[in-house]
């Protein structure tokens, strides 16, 4: 069944679409191939021959990939092409930089949300001067945090790309090393973000949320760690299966 997995991964991998849509395509095509393979085996073919026949029946891969790509709505294609999809011949560093600019803009919006809330609250309840005071206190922290966070995200992205390459090449030690460095960089980022958020909420009218903010940030960090571990393990198993 690894042949089928590898084929479907190679087919759907380069398609520019949301991860959710691509996962659906993978699962559906894999299900189809498995049923066709089972049909071939029932007809007396060996498992390998049945899998090859099932893949051949699916059609020419590049034409199928193009049809699948064309079925992705234009807006989604544009969004994921311009922001996330890797271009041909793009280096790890360049790709990491582009991903950082995308994630950085999301981070900026997330970081600005409590500030906007604080400024609005100050403006509503205490007037214009209080709102300006809140902005002056919070913005320097926020901007420093944003630059720092962007730098860490860039390093983490680059480490993640390196880790994926090492996993694909079955270099166990290098994979684990890059994975650990990746997790370390994410941990530093989460810790820094939690502290920055604490400063922000302390300086606004959201004092009551301090503990919640810290817990939520820690929760995100833990989710990242679990996600990276599971993803790394999954990729490793795939790479082993394909080898």
């Amino acid at each position: 069944m690894n042949t089928l997995h590898t084929f479907v991964d190679g087919l759907v991998g380069p398609i520019v679409a949301s991860p959710l849509r691509k996962r659906g395509m993978r699962e559906e095509l894999l299900g189809h191939l498995r049923e066709t393979t089972a049909e071939g085996e029932a007809a007396g073919l060996s498992p390998g021959a049945a899998a090859s026949a099932a893949i051949a029946r699916l059609g020419e891969p590049s034409a199928l990939r193009q049809s699948l790509q064309d079925s992705v709505p234009g807006v989604e294609r544009w969004l994921f092409w311009s922001m996330i999809a890797r271009r041909d011949e793009e280096s790890d560093l360049r790709y990491a930089a582009r991903l950082t600019s995308f994630l950085g803009s999301i981070l900026l919006v997330v970081m600005l949300m409590p500030v906007v809330a604080g400024v609005l609250a100050a403006g509503l309840f205490r007037g214009y001067d209080a709102a300006v005071a809140v902005l002056l206190k919070v913005l320097p922290i926020l901007m420093t945090g944003f630059v720092f966070a962007s730098l860490i995200i860039f390093v983490a992205q680059w480490l993640d790309l390196r880790m994926q390459r090492c996993i694909a090449a079955q270099r166990r030690l290098a994979s684990v090393l890059h994975g650990l460095l990746f997790v370390a960089s994410i941990s530093i980022l989460c810790h820094a973000m939690a502290n920055a958020m604490l400063h922000v909420v302390r300086d606004t009218f959201l004092h009551g949320l301090q503990a919640d903010v810290y817990l939520a940030t820690l929760g995100i960090a833990m989710l990242c760690l679990v996600g990276v571990s599971v993803d790394g393990w999954h990729r490793w198993q795939r790479a082993r299966g394909a080898a």
Binding site: M25, G31, L64, S67, S71
Partner: protein
Amino acid sequence: MDAIQRDELRGHLETLVLSVLGTGEMHGYEVLRRLCLRGEGMLEMKEGSLYPVLYRLEAAGHIRGRWESEHAVRRGPRRRVYRLTASGTRELDARRDRWRAFVRILNPIVEHGA
């Protein structure tokens, strides 16, 4: 008689899929199986071409897909089950009308010449 090649099917595949789904909800593999069955083995199409058609029809709102229940008694990847929507039913009716008109006009020409 020669098999009907996929180039000849192009442009009709969406109608065929809508028509098959008009008989009830089913997953992609079943749609294909029924097409082959009703085509008496004469429809020569690449199986993969079904899925982009399903995705396009779903994006247009003519069919709706849902992942088969996790509790379904079978192993392996989940299957996506498709059914016709109200818009799909209207689209199918319109396509059938167009098909009848197409056959009505072209058939005498093909059979007896212009």
